[in-house]
């Protein structure tokens, strides 16, 4: 470990230095990437180590999972990425994966000689960012750094919310360490802590977290406090606000707690119970059908959100979904789960699940915002809208892809800028049209929601990205809004003004896991909706995108953003819908980012995108974005089919192939949105 930490390699040092500069990624990168490889097979371990060293990475090898875990715990910032075997005698590889995701939130690549679909799926559901089949070739290892960068990027995005255009964002994203000295995100106490820890090491990783957003790192102690608080309140009654109060941790924000709660709930759900079959079913559903399930789920959710469907029904549906293996159930479950269950797994579930998370996130959001139960009532949304108006936060809600979308829409609507973009950022899951944002108010919501199902919300709402961003974050729906909120372009909605959105506005709040989660889900945002909207609405619908873009840009050009956002969100959503969540989110986020930040750009882009995309159902945009992003997300990306909005998906898919980085316009570097892949 020392070697890793010590960063003996110059490359690391130089790379970090370069990163600090906040400009382009250092040339040496990915050299010096700190990899921890875990495998009980000594032959494989030796070969992997050699291969990784040949790639110029800093390698630490470990033949037991327990040892690896303690190494990671002792030195939280000592590694950038973990590669682990699936079958190990002392601990199941997936278990290790979960631990790492929960405690350290590092990207983890699973590998095995087993290439069975179920095992690979398991990797996806547990949040692995990639899965390698043995024998591993060196080529496969050469670009594992993409997962690290991607993660940073997503975190960065979340962080960005502060409106400042991130010109350096791109780089910053990558280099996390971008001199983001401002821990703008007050909420991020961890980041400051991390900062200190990182001083010595290559802070690439750390910096990103600190710089980008005040990501809260959920250490074991913190998590224990959290769990204690939750148990004290009772898992059903555990609302972020109360949890926060009980935990009494300075610097921790409600959003942090909310996103973490979301993940936790998902985690619990996963553990509890659902029978294996269901689990696999669900997870399968979720994963592959991210979009699909989301759709179904979304409908429910949206309906619920719009208040058309009582919360109880939704819960019932969810429950039903959970217990059933039927696809349908699975779907709603997934959605529902997401909404209701905040499991830690969120981040892990990049794919498919990501969407769900969003949904949950959305729900959360809504709750947070309003402090209401999951189902978002239209009025709540409206309220939000008023308050949040500018807050993209609402968007966030929208992000809750499927189920939430309905809700989100409302939220978004609310948040949506006054501009009435009509974007309905609703999560793509169902295509909820994020209608909300604009002052549409409730009626829109319901429209959106209802319409969402088909994802063709025509209601163009200016869902400002700000709110939306959270969505992309996926898990941290809450977080998102926050980020976005800040992002919302000034025009759009005075983020600050939205008192309700306080949570949202707290840009920095997203930090930590949420981000990671969101990342995955970020994409979720009702891409569908957006698309729908976009089609109809061109510029306006983009607002959503902004939201997803964590980018601060959202703020910039509200109007633009709206458009951009929309497109972005659409993109994001699409990405999400297609279950690519992970990948998409990122891309969407990126796109949105690009859009947002480019305030000016956005306008042009929007126009471009909008017009172009609208034709293609916005899908294009998203696809573009997605393609970029999605690329990362390997398995998950291909969910599009599930969307339910076949047309969307297909469009998306098609786009994906063909999408050239339109993003050029957008600022995002087009980091390989490869998501996840994991």
């Amino acid at each position: 470990m020392n070697s890793n930490i010590g960063k003996g390699s110059m490359s690391t040092a130089s790379s970090s230095a370069a990163w600090k500069a906040g400009d382009v990624v250092p040339d040496r990168f990915p050299a010096g990437l700190r990899v921890l490889v875990v495998d009980d097979d000594p032959t494989c371990l030796m070969i992997l180590e050699k291969m990784l060293r040949t790639c110029l990475y800093e390698v630490t090898k470990c033949n037991r999972a327990e040892t690896a875990l303690s190494m990671l715990r002792e030195n939280k910032n000592g590694f950038d990425i973990v590669i682990s075997d699936v079958h190990m005698p002392d601990m199941d590889g997936f278990k290790l994966l979960e631990h790492i995701g929960l405690e350290m939130d590092l990207p983890v690549i699973m590998m095995s000689a087993d290439d069975g679909k179920h095992v690979v799926m398991k990797g996806v559901t547990h949040g692995a960012c990639d899965y390698l089949i043995k024998p591993v070739r060196i080529e496969a290892l050469k670009n594992i750094w993409q997962h690290v960068v991607r993660k940073w990027k997503n975190e960065w995005k979340d962080f960005e919310q502060s409106g400042s255009v991130e010109e350096g964002d791109r780089q910053q994203k990558q280099s996390e360490d971008a001199d983001y000295s401002s821990s703008a995100n007050e909420g991020n106490w961890k980041s400051s802590k991390k900062r200190k820890d990182d001083e010595d090491e290559t802070d690439e990783r750390d910096d990103s977290s600190t710089l980008k957003k005040p990501r809260v790192v959920w250490s074991v102690e913190l998590h224990q406090q959290f769990v204690a608080a939750v148990n004290q309140l009772g898992i059903d009654k555990a609302v972020p606000k109360k949890i926060l109060e009980l935990m009494n941790v300075p610097g921790l924000t409600r959003e942090n707690v909310a996103s973490h709660l979301q993940k936790y709930r998902l985690y619990l759900r996963r553990l509890s119970g659902v029978s294996q079959h269901q689990n696999s079913f669900m997870s399968h559903q979720e994963e592959t059908f991210g979009p699909l399930s989301s759709l179904n789920g979304l409908d429910l959710q949206t309906l619920a959100a719009t208040g058309q469907l009582p919360a109880e029904s939704l819960a019932t549906l969810q429950a039903a979904g959970l217990g059933r293996s039927t696809a349908k159930s699975g779907v709603p479950m997934a959605l529902v789960d997401q909404r209701n269950i905040f499991s830690f797994e969120n981040p892990k579930l990049r794919f498919g699940e990501g969407q769900q998370q969003h949904i949950n996130g959305n729900n959360k959001q809504i709750n947070l915002l309003h402090g209401i139960p999951m189902t978002m009532e239209p009025k709540q949304l409206v309220g939000l809208h008023h308050t949040a108006q500018s807050i993209g936060n609402v968007n966030m809600q929208v992000t809750s892809h499927g189920a939430q979308s309905g809700q989100n829409n409302s939220l978004l609507m609310q948040m949506g800028q006054p501009q009435s973009r009509g974007h309905i950022l609703n999560d793509a899951t169902v295509g909820h049209a994020p209608r909300l944002l604009s002052s549409m108010g409730q009626p829109i919501l319901s429209n959106g929601i209802a319409a969402n199902v088909s994802t063709r919300n025509r209601i163009p709402e200016n869902i400002r990205a700000p709110g939306y961003n959270p969505v992309s974050q996926a898990s941290s729906m809450l977080n998102f809004p926050m980020n976005h909120a800040s992002e919302l372009p000034g025009n759009i909605l005075p983020l600050g003004s939205t008192p309700g959105m306080s949570s949202l506005t707290s840009k920095g709040t997203f930090q930590e896991d949420v981000n990671s989660e969101i990342k995955g889900s970020g994409g979720f945002m009702p891409s569908y909706d957006i698309f729908n909207d976009l089609n109809q609405h061109k510029p306006q619908s983009w607002e959503l995108q902004n939201v997803s873009m964590t980018s601060d840009a959202s703020q910039r050009s509200n109007s633009l953003q709206g458009n951009l956002d929309l497109t972005q969100s659409v993109l994001v959503q699409q990405g999400i819908s297609s279950g690519q969540m992970n990948g998409q989110n990122r891309s969407a986020a990126v796109v949105s980012k690009a859009m947002c930040s480019a305030g000016d750009f956005s306008e042009q882009r929007n126009a471009q995108n909008v017009n172009q995309h609208f034709n293609t159902l916005l899908v294009d945009n998203t696809i573009r974005v997605k393609s970029e992003i999605v690329a990362d997300v390997s398995p998950a990306n291909l969910f599009p089919d599930h969307f339910g909005q076949e047309d969307l998906m297909s469009a998306l898919l098609k786009q994906q192939e063909g999408i050239a980085p339109a993003e050029n316009e957008f600022d995002f570097d087009g980091y390989s949105m490869d998501n996840i892949p994991e």
């Binding site: 097979d41 000594p42 032959t43 070969i47 060196i138």
Partner: protein
């Protein structure tokens, strides 16, 4: 025998191993990983593989010898052997393991025992071949020559 001749012999031998399926592309990967900083990498890894595999084969023999065979355990061992053999490119050993796993799933002790035999046979064959290969290489180096890089042209 002079160096050039030895080198040619080595090349031919190596080629035959590939042709006959004893080795596959993964072995080439290993060879490519070897460099000045690690001149004995391939030998080291393969030696590690030999030690590990022999242990695994022993465990397998014991596990299948039980009155109540724990097929999960057997499967785990075979899975590991499959992974390591595939990592060094011992193709036939790997294939034998794949067949073995199928019978583990069926919980067919008789068939498993046969598979174990098969795996052992392949393993010892592969071991022999590789050891011969290494000996040839050593001879070349001892004679002052350098080991030619194998190009998978065929």
């Amino acid at each position: 025998m002079e160096v050039g001749q030895m080198q040619r012999r080595l090349m031919d031998y190596t080629k035959s191993l590939f042709m006959e399926g004893f080795l596959d592309g993964q072995f080439l990967q290993l060879q490519q990983l070897q460099d000045e900083s690690n001149p004995d990498f391939v030998v080291e890894v393969v030696s590690l593989f030999f030690d590990d595999s022999e242990k695994l084969l022993n465990d397998l023999t014991m596990a299948l010898d039980q009155p109540n065979v724990d097929f999960k355990k057997v499967d785990a061992h075979v899975h590991q052997l499959k992974g390591s053999s595939s990592s060094i490119g011992a193709q036939r050993v790997k294939n034998a393991c794949i067949a073995f796993r199928n019978f583990c799933e069926e919980q067919n002790t008789e068939a498993c025992l046969r598979c174990l035999q098969q795996v052992k046979q392949e393993y010892y064959l592969a071991k022999n071949k590789l050891e011969s290969l290494f000996r040839l290489e050593q001879q070349i180096v001892a004679a002052g020559g350098s080991v030619p890089i194998m190009e998978m042209g065929f």
